[in-house]
């Protein structure tokens, strides 16, 4: 079968598998996701097939960028008819092109898995021919792995937006997770930097995934409640849910815009995760998007803010307030929770022996785990400063904000004009990012 894209770029179909692997891993590395957790509990104890999943994912290696290697993350092909300016695989890019056959991907996945290199496969692809054809090829690999090899490891498929609903349903049958990247924080930026992508099409597909996932979940729950008889018919659809990725720093959107978008994605589509990917230099960049060093600290702060939204009961307006003095950006020097606390000193000090969990969660330096442990502990004894120390809470950080049975903060500390300065070591105040 000839590939449309082979018309555009010289393409050697006799390429060795090991060379294809180089090209198609290079093409896939800008996707931040590597999660392999939270799917159905499966194993191969009945002696057929291979693999297990469910529970915590495992990182089988780490690359020198500190990233976890959990899945074989590759593209089926890096030929692409789209022209997304930020992407190394866009049509106009002069990178080398390659395409795996379906069987090659299956083989690599199984052989890597057997050696305990990976938890499973994360497969994505450039758009070849058209959306449906590409989606079909991606699904086919998952189907082969599941049905011919009885593969019970983790499969994450990147869904092609605008592929037909039937194809999405098929993909959901075999995959643990499906994802569609929003790519840009706003529809305008997407139009500008990825003219072939449609903001509307992306949202439509996300909505389809959401209802597919919800339907399968409801079915499973119902099955449990009906009886203890095993019912064979089983609707399967991406048990580990959907996720998405946004590129940070390619367009002009500020952090507030990014967080508003994330918040909507969590609320409207029940995303498990929104990944933030600092716009990274790529070989052979486009003139439409001049290269910069990736804003890694900004990316880190966005992840922290994202956690505050999801697990600490914060609102976007609290983290990035809408007022004339704010530029809508997170403070790069201090984390967003601390930054909120410094601007809301009237909220503190919080008495650890009396306050509710919600309030304790607002104290900078106290994570969700410690907060729960404090609540648990104080049913039996009063909380003292030393208890926090023993829980390995950063005392210097929490001190201005708390009260315990043996400690009351000096009012001076909270009233300090330069409370922010108290937290930033002098050499850090000049941050390069």
């Amino acid at each position: 079968m000839s590939v449309v894209c082979s018309l555009y770029v010289p393409y050697n179909d006799n390429m060795q598998l090991i060379d294809k692997l180089a090209i198609l891993a290079d093409a896939a590395k800008y996707d931040a996701s590597c999660a392999s957790s939270g799917t159905d509990q499966r194993d191969s104890k009945n002696g057929k097939g291979i693999g297990s999943s469910g529970g915590m994912g495992i990182c089988h290696s780490y690359t020198p960028d500190g990233r976890c290697v959990s899945l074989l993350k590759i593209l089926l092909t890096n030929f692409c008819i789209y022209e997304c300016s930020y992407c190394v695989n866009r049509a106009s890019s002069q990178v080398k092109r390659a395409r795996f056959t379906v069987d090659e991907v299956v083989k690599l996945t199984i052989e890597f898995y057997k050696r305990n290199y990976i938890e499973g496969l994360f497969l994505s692809s450039g758009i070849i021919k058209n959306e449906d054809y590409t989606m079909e090829q991606i699904s086919l690999i998952a189907k082969k792995l599941r049905t011919e090899h009885d593969f019970r490891g983790y499969i994450h498929l990147k869904t092609i937006p605008d592929a037909s609903p039937e194809l999405l349903a098929e993909a959901g049958k075999y995959a643990d997770r499906l994802s569609i990247n929003v790519e840009m924080p706003t529809a305008q930026s997407l139009q500008q930097f990825a003219p072939e992508k449609s903001p509307l099409g992306i949202k439509k597909s996300m909505a389809r995934l959401k209802s597919g996932i919800a339907e399968a979940k409801a079915h499973k729950r119902q099955k449990k409640t009906i009886s203890n008889q095993r019912i064979k018919s089983h609707i399967k659809f991406a048990p580990a849910g959907q996720s998405t990725q946004m590129i940070v720093g390619a367009d002009q959107s500020n952090d507030r815009i990014i967080l508003i978008q994330s918040n909507q994605l969590y609320n409207n589509f029940k995303m498990r995760r929104v990944y933030y990917s600092a716009f990274s230099p790529i070989p052979d960049a486009s003139q439409a998007l001049p290269l910069i060093a990736p804003p890694l600290m900004r990316e880190h702060r966005l992840y922290q803010a994202d956690w505050l939204l999801r697990f600490y009961g914060f609102e976007v307006d609290e983290i990035t307030p809408l007022n004339s003095t704010s530029d809508g950006m997170l403070d790069l020097h201090i984390d967003p929770k601390l930054s909120w606390a410094i601007n809301h000193r009237e909220f503190f000090p919080i008495n650890l022996n009396k306050a509710s969990l919600e309030h304790i969660l607002r104290i900078p330096g106290i994570g969700a785990m410690s907060a729960r442990r404090i609540i648990n502990m104080r049913r039996y004894s009063r909380i003292r400063l030393i208890d926090l120390q023993k829980m390995r809470v950063a005392i210097k950080k929490v001190k201005p904000f708390i009260e315990t049975s043996d400690y009351h903060p000096q009012a001076r500390l909270l009233e300090k004009d330069n409370l922010r300065g108290y937290f930033i070591p002098p050499e850090q105040q000049q941050l390069a990012f």
Partner: protein, 294 residues
């Protein structure tokens, strides 16, 4: 289900022994300071006790189920002090402090958590960093792996692998013991040295593919060596075929990134100008999108 293990696993055996001894100590009101556990490899009571007189006495001591669980888990720790710690806690649980486990700042509880955390981490890292090497013996594929766990976690990890790699023949060896799986039964045998292990294995050609993948999934623009080393400390590198690449990838990263940043950018119209077909295709999609947006 075919027998997972043909013999009682040793860590579980140790725990059972400890439990029996602890029960006897407790029934005879031996205070923690007097209880002795450090009797060589075999746990044995230093002196004999009378059998408890009545059933009521046996049932007097109730402990939370959670304690049995954490205690069992802790028996995988290598340090012998675990038995003393467990008995101290058992004593307190049965002498007026039934809520002991909830006192996160109590020194004994903290010690227990610390030790159990070390065990969990060891299990987790072993599941992650064991690498199976394939070799063929008379037509049948067999996978070998070598690992040096800090604690007595071989059995726990082997059971995990039994569920994951059920349809494979494999052997995981450590200095303290080997676990063998033949698709039906898990068998434990004496430990071996690394030199002996090396004679059992051959280089697996897939390692070259894995190294190729590792080399290319790394983004040199995001170099964070310290983050990698904290998750994957050097002591694990010897198990990982990819680790030989790390020094070079790290060294060349900055250079590669500077090079990338200095390259001239490409005209986005480059291909559209050359290929009418691509231009048509892209234009069709773009105009469809524009219509949709209106």
């Amino acid at each position: 289900m075919t027998g997972m293990a043909e013999k009682q696993l040793t860590v579980q055996q140790d725990f059972k022994r400890w439990r029996e001894m602890a029960r006897t100590y407790l029934q005879n009101a031996v205070i923690p300071a007097d209880a002795r556990w450090d009797l060589g490899d075999q746990l044995a009571l230093p002196f004999s006790f009378e059998q408890p007189k009545s059933a009521a006495k046996t049932n007097k001591h109730q402990v939370p189920a959670a304690f049995i669980q954490v205690a069992q888990f802790l028996s995988q720790h290598r340090d012998h002090s675990k038995w003393t710690l467990l008995y101290q806690m058992l004593w307190r649980l049965t002498h007026g402090e039934p809520y002991l486990l909830r006192l996160s700042s109590d020194p004994a509880v903290r010690q227990l958590h610390r030790m159990n955390k070390a065990v969990s981490r060891d299990i987790h890292k072993m599941k992650a960093f064991v690498r199976f090497n394939s070799s063929s013996h008379s037509g049948e594929e067999h996978f070998h792996a070598w690992f040096e766990p800090e604690h007595l976690v071989l059995e726990a990890v082997a059971e995990f692998f039994v569920k994951r790699f059920t349809a494979m023949n494999w052997t995981v060896c450590t200095p303290g013991g080997c676990a063998h799986w033949n698709q039906k039964q898990l068998r434990l045998s004496e430990g071996i040295t690394y030199a002996v292990y090396q004679q059992m294995t051959e280089d697996d050609e897939m390692n070259e593919y894995w190294r190729q993948y590792y080399r290319h999934i790394f983004n040199p623009a995001r170099l964070k060596e310290a983050a990698m080393k904290s998750e994957m400390p050097k002591k694990y590198w010897k198990y990982l075929p990819e680790s030989v690449l790390i020094p070079k990838l790290t060294q060349k990263a900055t250079l590669n990134m500077t090079h990338m940043l200095s390259q001239p950018a490409t005209d986005p119209e480059r291909l559209r100008a050359k290929s009418k077909k691509l231009k048509q295709q892209q234009n069709a999609i773009r105009s469809k999108n524009q219509k949709q947006a209106q």
